[in-house]
């Protein structure tokens, strides 16, 4: 009896090792349904611990921002000056916004309709990767998702002092956090921006600082000219490839040095992809390094706009199907 049971265990082990070998060789074909099944088992109990972890991570991130008394005093002085400036600009902005409202009203009545025909599917992060080599999250949503769909955080901007009515549908997307790589009916795997395999077509928007003017090369009359960056010639730097570095940042390689990208500039989505046909914040430039192979180009390091470590609620952008887009 003992010998029989020993033999059966040995055979079972051999079978299981053979199964592992086969699933290894079949790759994605076997992995996708198996992982989806596992996600159903893992997702129900993931909410609680993930909530605790993200809450703690937010607290830690808030405490990391502590500063010295000198820095605080300097910041207070700077804030006072900025508040004064703000009051001046607010008056100007009020004038402009009144004109803009009038124009917008006119455009909405007579102009072409421009709408981002997408649905925002709310989802919760319920688990992270078991291994640290990638940057993905398991999300649980109320609707089915498709591979390639993007996810954002959501920020409701309002000037109202009263609470908004529930079920309001119009919100602005705040920051891109990643894309769906393993879709499913109720759970899906979200590949974060910082994953080494993440790629997206982006656009760099340079921020003009009057205190620190920057020289850029622009083409005028088919001739390159070096000039100061102004609102008139500040065109976005299009078609840059943004990829995750596997850590906490994003990398944009092979950016032409004459664009003079600086820390503080913004990286947004290109707005040309079918899945995300609008500009959404990706992150802020934190470092610019010369390219080791080509001195005419630079590598730009970007800090994601969203706090990916404490990611809890996301919204999956699901474009509505139109007759032209097919089934």
């Amino acid at each position: 009896m003992e010998l029989r049971s020993w033999l059966s265990k040995k055979r079972l082990l051999a079978c299981l090792l053979a199964v592992s070998g086969i699933t290894t060789l079949t790759g994605w074909g076997a992995a996708h349904p198996l992982r989806r099944a596992a996600a159903f088992v893992l997702a129900p109990l993931g909410h609680g611990p993930m909530y605790a972890v993200t809450h703690l991570k937010r607290q830690v991130a808030a405490n990391e921002g502590q500063m010295s008394p000198e820095q605080a005093a300097r910041l207070r002085e700077e804030n006072r000056y900025l508040r004064w400036m703000l009051s001046q600009w607010r008056y100007q902005a009020e004038l402009y916004s009144r004109r803009a409202r009038e124009l917008a009203n006119f455009q909405s009545l007579y102009g072409p309709i421009r709408d981002l025909s997408s649905e925002l599917i709310p989802a919760n992060v319920v688990a992270a990767d078991s291994l640290p080599y990638g940057q993905t999250r398991l999300v649980r949503s109320s609707a089915a998702t498709k591979a390639g769909e993007y996810a954002t955080t959501r920020q409701l901007l309002t000037k109202r002092s009263k609470a908004l009515e529930p079920r309001l549908a119009v919100v602005s997307a705040s920051a891109l956090v990643g894309r769906i790589v393993e879709p499913g009916a109720f759970t899906a795997r979200l590949q974060l921006l910082t994953d080494p395999a993440f790629r997206i077509q982006g656009r760099i928007r340079r921020i003009i600082n009057p205190r620190r003017p920057r020289m850029v090369t622009v083409t005028r009359d088919n001739l390159p000219r070096t000039t100061t960056l102004t609102p008139e010639n500040n065109l976005p730097i299009d078609d840059v490839m943004v990829r995750g570095d596997g850590g906490r940042r994003l990398i944009v390689e092979h950016v032409k040095a004459y664009h003079n990208v600086r820390p503080g500039d913004l990286v947004v989505t290109s707005g040309r992809e079918r899945m995300i046909p609008t500009e959404i914040h990706v992150g802020k430039v934190v470092d610019v390094q010369p390219d080791a192979k080509d001195p005419r180009r630079v590598t730009v390091f970007v800090q994601p706009h969203a706090d990916l470590e404490a990611l809890r609620e996301v919204y999956i952008i699901s474009p509505y199907r139109t007759a032209s887009s097919g089934p």
């Binding site: 020993w6 265990k9 040995k10 079972l12 082990l13 299981l16 090792l17 199964v19 592992s20 070998g21 086969i22 699933t23 290894t24 060789l25 079949t26 790759g27 994605w28 076997a30 992995a31 198996l34 992982r35 099944a37 596992a38 088992v41 893992l42 109990l45 993931g46 611990p49 993930m50 605790a52 972890v53 703690l56 991570k57 319920v126 688990a127 992270a128 990767d129 078991s130 291994l131 640290p132 080599y133 990638g134 940057q135 993905t136 999250r137 398991l138 790589v181 393993e182 795997r189 590949q191 994953d195 080494p196 395999a197 570095d245 596997g246 850590g247 906490r248 470590e309």
Partner: protein, 186 residues
């Protein structure tokens, strides 16, 4: 081995690894995040205390499969199976050499956990990179090997603590060691 409690333990360990253990993840120098592999630590514990090499390998296979199913990215991570294979084979190897060590010493436990994590993760990274050949660059492969080394050191540092915790509740998932029971001692 008591397999039902062991499967429940595996589920709890993987749930912890995917959720609450995120708090222990730190950013490594230039090679990305590093966190401990608790499933590997449980596998080392079971291997040190299992009654037979088949039990140790089966337990390693179960834990490795759980890790495979919950791993998402990096190196194209498309295949399910490399981790269960490597956990099972390294658990079998560790079972063969365990008699040469004093398993109750913290340093021994840490060294065995270091070797286990290093071997299994190097195998996993290499297999996944080979399967995703063409998409994983040499630099990314090197970075992941460094990550695996850092992960092994981090996990090894936690092994004595995990061993202490698991030894308190080992009667739930491991059968009693060979020898006279209560009735025999009377």
């Amino acid at each position: 081995m008591r397999w039902i409690p062991f499967l429940i333990l595996t589920y709890l360990v993987v749930l912890f690894q995917c959720t609450a253990a995120r708090i222990l993840v730190v950013q490594g120098g230039g090679f990305g995040p590093v966190g401990p592999d608790f499933a590997a630590l449980v596998a080392v514990f079971v291997t040190l205390h299992a009654r037979s090499w088949v039990d140790a390998m089966l337990a390693g296979w179960v834990l490795g499969l759980a890790m495979d199913l919950t791993a998402g990215g990096g190196a194209g991570a498309t295949a399910v199976g490399p981790m269960s294979l490597s956990y099972a084979l390294v658990a079998g190897l560790l079972f063969r050499v365990r008699e040469a060590f004093f398993r109750e010493r913290a340093l021994t436990q840490a060294l065995l956990a270091l070797a286990f994590c290093l071997l299994t993760h190097v195998v996993w990274v290499t297999l996944q990179s080979l399967l995703a050949i063409g998409t994983v660059e040499a630099g990314a492969y090197g970075r992941m090997l460094l990550q695996a080394l850092a992960l092994a050191c981090y996990s090894a540092a936690l092994m004595p603590l995990v061993h202490l915790l698991l030894s308190r509740c080992q009667r739930w998932f491991l059968t009693a060691p060979v020898g006279p029971g209560r009735r025999g001692r009377r």
